[in-house]
């Protein structure tokens, strides 16, 4: 497969074609995952935002199925890594093997050399192995024995994991979590969807019958289109405000990183495009705040004791943060002006 640099993405798609292509992927996945349209669209949005997806939920709700369905719907290289406690970093990245014929070391690519990498049960591997993903996820390259190998475009890691309260798991390090654009939960299907699932999955696995409806080229074009989505200054400001708020929240020990801001906005672009808009709304940011930000932040010990989840903290921040449009104090705000946060009376010790 020809290596393609990160910037060599395809041309822009017209509005209608974009819509058709994206809808086709969503519809295809939905053949397998029933009644989870929002989750499926979010997964696609992460793909179009050039991010990585972390699916976290209890066992048996279809995490792996979603990952595989997304991979199969796109006709591109797909590799799967089953993370086990004895998995080694070289299994992920690749290894140099001595070739006796050429008397030279030869690089044998690992599982990450694909467009879509499905990492199943990622938190069952030891942190040592998990760390193998750090470089490739952020920089889209792999360095083995001092040689750097570029990865393909699109490149996406779809990882599934069980909540860390479950036994036999290693929590992901912060650096690793920060590299995932979004963390989504599958949730249990509703009664109707579960019934339909019993019918559909009773005889055969519908995953086998899933045919690709798209290919890497189209995905590249979709990504290029997403990049052109307009973001007004007010929206950018709102994204910054939102991330700043996590850094200043008293409940949080660690706020979201600048990378989070970037990925929040990228995902918002993708979501806007998927909804047929060529501009981002604060509504998109509000909807994405929990999936994009919640897994990156660490609550304080007090908040943990109070059993406040990061999801709750983020959504509360969203509900408290005023929109940037009425940045200059709204007349409907009856709270006293805080000014620049300085107390009016601040004498210093002489």
């Amino acid at each position: 497969m020809t290596q393609q640099t990160w910037d060599e993405v395809g041309g822009l798609l017209p509005h209608d074609e974009f819509r058709a292509a994206s809808e086709a992927i969503v519809a295809n996945i939905e053949q397998v995952i029933e009644g989870k349209t929002a989750t499926v669209r979010l997964a696609l949005a992460v793909l179009l935002a050039e991010g990585h997806l972390l699916i976290e939920d209890v066992p048996g709700v279809g995490k792996t199925k979603l990952a595989k369905a997304l991979a199969r719907s796109i006709d591109c290289t797909v590799r799967r890594i089953q993370f086990t406690p004895d998995l080694l970093p070289s299994d992920v990245t690749g290894v140099s093997v001595y070739n006796q014929e050429t008397h030279d070391f030869e690089f044998r690519p690992g599982a990450v050399f694909a467009n879509l990498v499905v990492g199943d049960e990622i938190n069952r591997a030891s942190p040592k192995t998990q760390s193998a993903l750090l470089e490739c996820m952020e920089e889209r390259q792999v360095t083995v024995d001092g040689v750097t190998y570029q990865l393909q475009t699109p490149f996406m890691v779809i990882a599934t994991q069980n909540p860390i309260e479950m036994e036999g798991t290693y929590p992901l390090p912060e650096a690793q979590r920060d590299r995932f654009t979004a963390r989504i939960a599958m949730g249990y299907p509703d009664a109707g969807a579960e019934l339909a699932m019993l019918d559909g999955h009773g005889a055969t696995d519908p995953l086998h019958e899933l045919r690709p409806v798209s290919d890497a080229d189209i995905v590249r074009q979709l990504i290029a289109t997403v990049r052109k989505v307009h973001v007004a200054d007010a929206v950018k400001q709102y994204a910054v405000d939102l991330v700043t708020a996590t850094r200043e929240a008293p409940d949080l020990r660690l706020g979201a990183s600048p990378r989070a801001t970037l990925q929040l906005l990228r995902t918002a672009r993708a979501v806007a495009a998927l909804e047929g808009r060529d501009y981002v709304l604060p509504d998109d940011l509000q909807a994405l705040a929990v999936p994009v930000l919640a897994h990156r932040i660490i609550p304080t010990a007090d908040a943990q004791l109070a059993r406040r989840t990061t999801d709750a903290i983020v959504s509360e921040l969203v509900h408290r943060l005023p929109l940037p449009h009425d940045r200059q104090r709204s007349p409907y705000d009856t709270r006293p002006a805080t000014g620049n946060g300085r107390a009016p009376y601040e004498p210093r010790r002489p």
């Binding site: 307009h230 060529d278 981002v280 709304l281 509504d283 104090r329 002006a337 009376y345 010790r349 002489p350």
Partner: protein, 825 residues
């Protein structure tokens, strides 16, 4: 006992400050010096007894003893040991002083001179209060209670001096009390030990504790309310409303008749004008006299000429039930004196501390010792009683004079006290000086000069009577009257007195009643319209002689005399020395003219009565204007809202107008994205429509959330508020979409009918809201009020921040801080 060392002196000083109101009843400041000595002695002994840790009763005994010693030293009887150790004789002396003070209190009006009995009772009182304050504030640590004895001091001038004490001494006294309270509280707080700012930082020695700021503000507000509230309460003496409401004649003339209750500071001219202008006629006095044709009944005199006109001096005198001066001593050739008896019945409508009598009373009945007679002013007054509903009789001597007798009166010697006092004018007024010079030129005797001035006010000279003129008797008013030549009794009387004084002859203005036009035999019923003022001129050896310069046609019941004939009467009686026979009998001169005048005055009185309401400025325009102003004020928010809506509506309508060219613009089926001025305009239109929608929501009390996007807001409205109204649902979604695109998209929504959408939403909201909400939305739109409140809060917040910073900068130069720094170094 660090605290007591500090509070003791403060308590003593506060006592002295609280005594400040006494200054208004004393003529000099001797009382203060003596009180200060007594208080200082008491405070010193208190400090000493505390130094030796005496129990409280010991302190009290010590202070009382100290007060006794101080009094002995200040008011010696002569038989003391070492000038300050009291003997039994001293206490006898004290008892004498005490009874003497009672006597003095009765006989002197304010302001009282320095008599020993009065000073004694004052020093005793202030010293006693000092003891009490010290015990309460230092011994019992209840400084708030110490206010009661201080109040007792304050009540003294208030009691004797009905017309309320001037504000400055009160403020001084109140400041003393507050000082005591503050000192005590600072001491209490210091006992806690270290002071904190509240954010965990220690307060420096030089700093006022920020925690106390709220207390300080509360205290200031409390004091302000305590002072301002009584001012606004009607019915209290000197109430602000009382003053403002005076003279409007709002029906209840009874309480106001007599205008004020004091002999002291009453403005006689103002009350006279007020009474004459009353539209209601009230009977004030009924008088029966044995005199066939009496002269005016008089009750007050204004004999002090200040820059702002004639003022009443505080009268002083002896009780009326004692011997009164006998005017018959002044009888001489040409002066006829006869004794008559009169009974006066004052109705309930007249309440003042002066009693109307005929000049000059020699014996009274039915009047107790509270009523005093001032022989100089010839008025009966009281410092604590009032005339309301009284009935009394008195004998009086009526003096009549021949012009010859008055001519024969010698000029007053220059050193005569009256000459100094009663000819004083507050600085020469050139016009008056010139006029007087012209009038008296060539006149040899005082009487001729006075007569010349008296005649100047004749109708021939163009003077005419009219009640509705500016009142006042200051120099400027007098000149105005002399120029305009239109006025009524008070101007005539004051002008003549002024001119006579300018000629060097003592003169004053007397106030009283004419004989009126309701006569039943010897009984005259006098109303407020019969109130009158005239001039009295002093002739040496003769006494005060009345001259009434006011034209008799203007005054019902006017009376003339031989020495001051009616200058406007057709048959002008010239002062002829030969006609002394006719003048000798007051009945002869007063008789023919009296009934004649009374007849005419019935008409003029009627016409006056008919005239008065018309002349009086009507009250209703003020009420109407006030009501209109109030309505206008109330309408301001609604108008502001209307203007705002109109402006935004204009924008939205403009958007609808621009829709047409845009609609026509698409060429070849492709959508033309208009970017440029039109886009900006569409953006502004959408913003205006959205702002208007938010204001409407606030007006109809629908929640507005700053954290919601336009889309969420529209969704919420659809979900919660407009659930059935499909037109409104479409409209609100349109508005939300327009605002959303205006804010966040490359190209705003153009060509949408925003104004009708707004109307639809507003209509749906109004239909859903209750009547009360609708009414408020129309009359007092909450959106406008909220905006104003926010602005106010912001401004005040900024001000607080600014003042806080300024204060901090100033604190850098606080001397206490600099001293503390130096000490630390």
């Amino acid at each position: 006992m660090i605290a007591s060392r500090n509070i003791g002196p403060v308590a003593a000083a506060a006592t002295l400050l609280a005594a400040a109101p006494l200054s208004s009843i004393f003529e000099t400041w001797t009382w203060l010096v003596q009180s200060a000595i007594a208080v200082a002695v008491v405070a010193g002994v208190a400090a000493l007894t505390r130094l030796i840790r005496a129990p409280l009763w010991g302190q009290v005994l010590g202070m009382l003893a100290a007060l006794g010693l101080a009094l002995t030293w200040l008011f010696p009887s002569g038989g003391e040991l070492l000038t300050f150790l009291p003997t039994p004789g001293t206490f006898g002396h004290f008892a004498d002083l005490f009874t003497g003070s009672m006597q003095d209190m009765r006989s002197y009006g304010v302001e009282v001179p320095d008599t020993d009995p009065l000073l004694f009772i004052t020093v005793l009182g202030v010293g006693g209060v000092a003891v009490l304050v010290d015990v309460l504030a230092v011994g019992l640590r209840r400084p708030a209670l110490a206010g009661l004895p201080m109040l007792a001091i304050y009540s003294v001038p208030v009691a004797v001096y009905v017309d309320s004490v001037p504000p400055v001494p009160f403020v001084v006294g109140a400041a003393g009390y507050l000082w005591l309270l503050v000192t005590d509280n600072v001491d209490r707080v210091r006992r806690f030990g270290r002071r904190f700012t509240g954010d965990g930082r220690d307060v420096d020695v030089w700093e006022a504790s920020p925690l106390a700021a709220a207390g300080r503000r509360l205290a200031v507000v409390g004091v302000a309310i305590a002072v301002a509230l009584p001012l606004a309460v009607p019915g209290m003496t000197g109430g602000l409303l009382d003053t403002l409401g005076g003279g409007t004649g709002n029906g209840n003339g009874n309480g106001r008749a007599g205008a004020g209750g004091s002999s002291g500071r009453i403005d006689l001219f103002a009350s006279l004008a007020g009474q004459l202008n009353q539209s209601e006629v009230a009977d004030l006095v009924k008088v029966t006299t044995s005199e066939p044709s009496p002269f005016y009944l008089r009750y007050a005199v204004a004999d002090e000429l200040r820059p702002n006109g004639f003022q009443a001096r505080n009268p002083s005198g002896r009780p009326v039930n004692q011997n009164l001066p006998d005017p018959t001593e002044r009888a001489g050739p040409g002066v006829q004196q006869a004794r008559y008896r009169a009974t006066v019945e004052v109705t309930k409508s007249l309440s003042m501390s002066l009693m109307p009598v005929y000049a000059e009373p020699v014996r009274t009945e039915d009047l107790n010792g509270n009523w005093l007679y001032d022989p100089t002013q010839q008025v009966v007054f009281s410092n604590r009683d009032n005339s309301r509903g009284r009935k009394y009789s008195f004998d009086y001597i009526r003096s009549t004079y021949t012009p010859a007798a008055l001519r024969a009166a010698p000029p007053l010697p220059a050193e005569h006290p009256l000459n100094r006092q009663q000819t004083a004018t507050p600085g020469p007024v050139p016009e008056v000086e010139e006029l007087v010079k012209g009038l008296v030129q060539g006149k040899r005797t005082d009487y001729d000069r006075v007569l010349a001035i008296y005649r100047h006010f004749s109708a021939d000279n163009g003077f005419s009577y009219r009640l509705s003129t500016e009142s006042g008797s200051s120099g400027e008013d007098i000149v105005n009257f002399l120029t305009n030549k239109v006025g009524y009794c008070q101007q005539y009387a004051a002008a003549m007195a002024w001119l006579v004084r300018s000629a060097g002859i003592p003169a004053r203005v007397a106030f009283g009643f004419t004989n009126g036009n309701k006569q039943d035999g010897n009984t005259y019923t006098l109303t407020n319209l019969n109130l009158h003022a005239w001039t009295e001129v002093y002739f040496d050896g003769v006494g005060w002689v009345p001259f009434d310069a006011t034209p008799s046609y203007g005054v019902p019941g006017s009376t003339r005399s031989a020495w001051a004939p009616d200058i406007d009467a057709p048959e002008s009686i010239t002062p002829d020395p030969g006609a002394s026979g006719a003048a000798a009998d007051p009945g002869a001169s007063g008789g023919p003219t009296g009934p004649d005048n009374a007849d005419r005055d019935t008409d003029s009185g009627l016409s006056l009565a008919g005239q008065t309401p018309a002349e009086q400025p009507p009250v209703w325009p003020w009420w109407t204007a006030g009501l209109l102003a109030l309505l206008a004020l109330l309408a301001v928010p609604a108008l502001r809202r209307l203007a705002l809506r109109r402006r935004r509506g204009g924008r939205a309508a403009g958007a609808a107008m621009t829709a047409t060219p845009n609609e026509a613009a698409p060429v070849d089926g492709t959508r033309v994205v208009v970017v440029g001025p039109d886009a900006n305009r569409a953006r502004a239109d959408a913003h205006a429509a959205w702002a208007e929608l938010l204001d409407t929501l606030v007006d109809f009390r629908v929640r507005v959330d700053r954290t919601e996007t336009p889309r969420t807001t529209a969704d919420r409205l659809v979900r919660e508020t407009l659930n059935e109204d499909t037109a409104a649902v479409g409209a609100v979604r349109l508005l939300g979409r327009a605002e959303e695109r205006a804010r966040y998209a490359r190209d705003p929504l153009t060509g949408e009918p925003l104004a009708p959408a707004l109307r639809a939403v507003r209509g749906a909201l109004a239909a859903r809201a209750g009547r009360r909400t609708r009414l408020f939305a129309a009359l007092l739109p909450p959106s406008v009020l909220l905006r104003w409140r926010t602005t106010l809060a912001d401004t005040s917040g900024r001000m607080v921040a600014l003042t806080g910073r300024a204060r901090y900068r100033l604190l850098r130069w606080n001397p206490r801080r600099l001293l503390a720094d130096r000490a630390a170094r």
